[in-house]
Amino acid sequence: MNVELDIGAREDVPTWLVYGTPVFTVLAALAVSSVALVALDVSPVAAYSVMFVETLTSEFGLTETTVKAIPLVLTGLAVYLPLRAGLWNIGAEGQLILGGLAGTWIGLNVSAPGYALLVAMFLGAGVAGAFWAAVPAWLRAKYDINEIITTLLLTFVALNLKNYLIRGPMQGGAGTFPQTEQFSGAATIPSLFGNVHAGLLVALLMVAVAYVLVTQTRLGFEVTFVGSNPEAATQAGISRYKVYILVFVIGGLFAGFAGIGEIAGVQGRFRADFEPGYGFTAIVIALLGRNGALKVLLAGFFFALLIVGGSSMEVALGVPAALTEVIQALVILFLITAEFFKRYSVSLRVDRDPGTSPATRTGSDA
């Protein structure tokens, strides 16, 4: 018997596949994860119904998911925009922390009427995040220093700066806990509905900004071109320097917003152990959503759902925390694999011809 495996690039991706793949892959990932659940004596049906159905149908679940999605979408955009220009912002976490610190300082030390204080806090946070991102961008644009390394390392600088500031100069409140003073009412982001704070509006607005920037403006055209072929872009007179700096500055701004949104909207004060990891999850979000800002929004919400649903499952069924992370990782892995099947068709052919030896044929016609 002769089994042949043929892998070829697809000319056109059928529509059902475009919309079907994410659904199929998530289902496949859950199917694989259920093996682990069964091994732990937990019914996969119960587990998944807690994880998804209850999270999506209860008010608590929806609220939590939305609140979690705010920083995830914003940091997702912070990675997405440089990615459009072919650059990797691995340090959105550091930009988020720095934004949070700057915003917190303004919230605690400045007094302004009405919502002006909140606006000032967001602005300060954005500028701080943008500054933190501008450094690696400048190093990359001017000296061609790899931005993956510089952004990542600056994250550790930011984390240690935070540890020093919150335990030192910015420490406040009752006792000597490593945290700042509690925010006043004016410095707290008001709630929009239920427990969802108005940071959601900022996140949605920034999605719109990123969308318009990329698809409607001259800068967006330049960003897309530099991201696709920097050498051709230079030949066309597009300044790589300008594009690199701008995507990082705007990305850092988004990450800074994420930081202050989380502090002033959820935490109420800056604690020294604040290290949410949103900036790292954002890399996967941006990868999944790299085709557009709206997809970043969707991917952000999806990851918020995975995180919130995962912790509900942990609490409700006593599933170890590590397992929910396994499920999240499997979903990511399957989604990335699915990209391959979207682009290539695989056909399996079985010949009943005993005369010839088995052969595996591969070939792509990109």
Binding site: D6, N229, A359
Partner: protein
């Protein structure tokens, strides 16, 4: 001749979604024959050859080599069967040396582990011949001494000037091609497929290659020669097979057919070979470059003090062997390469040291040599690529916002006016999906439609099919009539002679000879291109000496 063909491909069918690339094609090659394979881009030549080389598997049909049926699952099978291929797009690893690239996949263990005696005594024999050590050495050691000397001999034998120790990225396109040819020769194949091998060679080098190929054929090697150039078919092949739209038009002995007939078989209509050059009044200088000096990627001086003046309505042709500073010159006058000395003035504006943007804004257009690397963004749409320079233009909205419907319309106009085929929707089709000729037409359309004052075209017709070449050359002449100053850099001497008003020969970064096509002595020009010391020995140097006075 009634002898059994060496290679037979029978009734080959290969379909891609929406296209039949090979539609029941029969193809056969005799032993020791140089067989031309002719056809426009997209005619199915490459597909047929990729099937023969095991890169694609056919949907139908059989391949027989020397009477045996071949099952080709990969290029390795093809190489083992004795089929080698030199690709049009180089398959080299830039960071490795020439020798490393050539032995890639066919590595020999380090000399110290060589199994066949002759050891230099660095290792005791007992250890050296130990099977485990042998197996490890086979897998993990790399011996380059023996291959290097073999490559060196091969290079000498076929007249290739290649430094085996150089890294591939340091070589120019012409030299890289030679490495590709050496790679196939190194593997002792019986049949070698050359996909447009002369596209990057000068006439002299091409002749050398032809001599080498003839030598190989005389030794019994069969050669399939894919080309667009009809005169090459005449010059080198014994028989020629013409493909059109996936079907075989016919196989004919080259001696029995004229170039015009071949062109008609290939295109399906008559092709004009002579270009009408209208007299044009030559105006004021658009480009004045003085004492240009620039370095190449390796930091070695590639331009050594070049003066170049181009006037309105003038085509200045620059002839030379690849790697003599043409790329650096083109990039320097298009504002892409930093100068170490000299000045560039365009339309009276000093642009020395200005940014590429300033050159674009001052109406300098550039058609780069490497279309995919510098000329376009292959994975962006035709619309993006068509508007890559003009998107700044006020007609697409002022301020920060861009009028995308306007860009689309503009791109559609260019596609239509310049007959760019294969574009059903400018926003959907990516530039990289276009064939070489159509992509080049798109790039030319973009550069010309801006109504430039100066157009720098580096190898505009390389690797482009006959129909597109005709179109591109006519477009360049039309620019001349419009009063644009054109710098045409080409390694195709016929192209230079047909189009230029003035011809400059570049050698080792300097202009060594200037002439006009009407008075040019082709032998002399060819000689100057190679530094005046051709292979013809006495006769050549006498000629060079006679012309030395006026040349330098």
């Amino acid at each position: 001749m009634t002898e059994e063909p060496f290679l037979r491909m029978e009734d080959i069918v290969k379909e891609f979604p929406g296209v039949v690339a090979n539609d029941h094609v029969d193809f056969s090659v005799r032993r020791g024959e140089i067989h031309g394979l002719l056809g426009e881009n997209g005619a199915g030549k490459s597909t047929l050859m990729k099937i023969l080389y095991g890169l694609y598997s056919q949907d139908g049909g059989d391949i027989y080599l020397d009477g045996e049926r071949l099952e080709l699952a990969s290029p390795q099978n093809a190489i083992d069967a004795g089929v080698g291929m030199v690709h049009q797009h180089f398959m080299l690893i830039p960071k490795l040396t020439v020798a490393e690239n050539i032995v890639l996949g066919d590595r020999e263990p380090a000399a110290a582990f060589a199994s066949d005696g002759g050891s230099d005594g660095r290792l005791p024999d007992s250890l050296r011949t130990n099977p485990v050590v042998q197996a490890l050495a086979q897998r993990f050691s790399l011996g380059l001494e023996a291959p290097e000397s073999r490559i060196h001999d091969l290079a000498g034998q076929y007249g290739f000037d290649v430094d085996v120790g150089a890294k591939v990225w340091q070589l120019d396109v012409g030299q890289q091609q030679r490495v590709e040819i050496l790679k196939a020769l190194y593997r002792d194949v019986d049949l070698i497929i050359l996909d447009e091998p002369t596209a990057v060679l000068t006439p002299t080098e091409a002749e050398q290659l032809f001599e080498s190929l003839q030598q190989l054929a005389d030794e019994g090697l069969s050669i399939i020669f894919i080309t667009h150039k009809l005169q090459e078919v005449e010059a080198i092949t014994d028989r020629v097979t013409v493909l059109r739209e996936g079907k075989k038009v016919g196989t004919v002995p080259t001696a029995d057919i004229t170039q015009a007939d071949l062109a008609e078989m290939m295109v399906g209509r008559e092709v004009l070979f002579s270009l009408e050059k209208d007299p044009v009044e030559i105006g004021d200088p658009v480009l004045r470059a003085r004492g240009l000096r620039a370095e190449n990627e390796r930091g070695i001086e590639a331009l050594s003090g070049v003066d170049l003046t181009v006037r309105e309505g003038e085509i200045v042709g620059i002839a030379g062997v690849s790697g003599n500073g043409q790329t650096e010159l083109a990039e320097a006058i298009a504002g892409l390469r930093d100068l170490t000395a000299g000045e560039i003035v365009v339309e009276g504006i000093d642009l020395t040291g200005a940014s590429p943007r300033a050159f674009v804004d001052n109406d300098v257009s550039f058609v780069p040599e490497d279309r995919l690397r510098y000329g376009c963004a292959a994975d962006l749409s035709v619309m993006h690529n068509a508007t890559m320079k003009d998107f700044r233009n006020g007609q697409f909205g002022d301020g920060q916002f861009l009028d995308y419907p306007g860009l689309r319309e503009y791109a559609e106009t260019l596609v239509e006016e310049f007959d760019v085929r294969g574009v059903h929707d400018v926003t959907d089709v990516e530039a990289g999906e276009l064939s070489g000729g159509n992509l080049q037409k798109l790039i030319l359309a973009r550069e010309i439609h801006r109504e430039p004052d100066l157009l720098v075209a580096n190898q505009p017709t390389r690797g482009v099919d006959v129909g597109a070449i005709e179109f591109i050359r006519e477009s360049l002449l039309a620019q001349r009539t419009e009063g644009t100053g054109v710098v045409l850099i080409s390694e195709d001497l016929d192209e230079i002679m047909d189009l230029s008003d003035r011809v400059l020969v570049i050698y080792e970064g300097e202009f060594v000879h200037e002439t006009v096509p009407e008075e040019a002595d082709r032998g002399r020009v060819g000689l100057e291109m190679t530094g005046g010391s051709g292979e013809d020995g006495v006769e050549a140097s006498a000629e060079a000496a006679a012309g030395a006075g006026e040349a330098r």
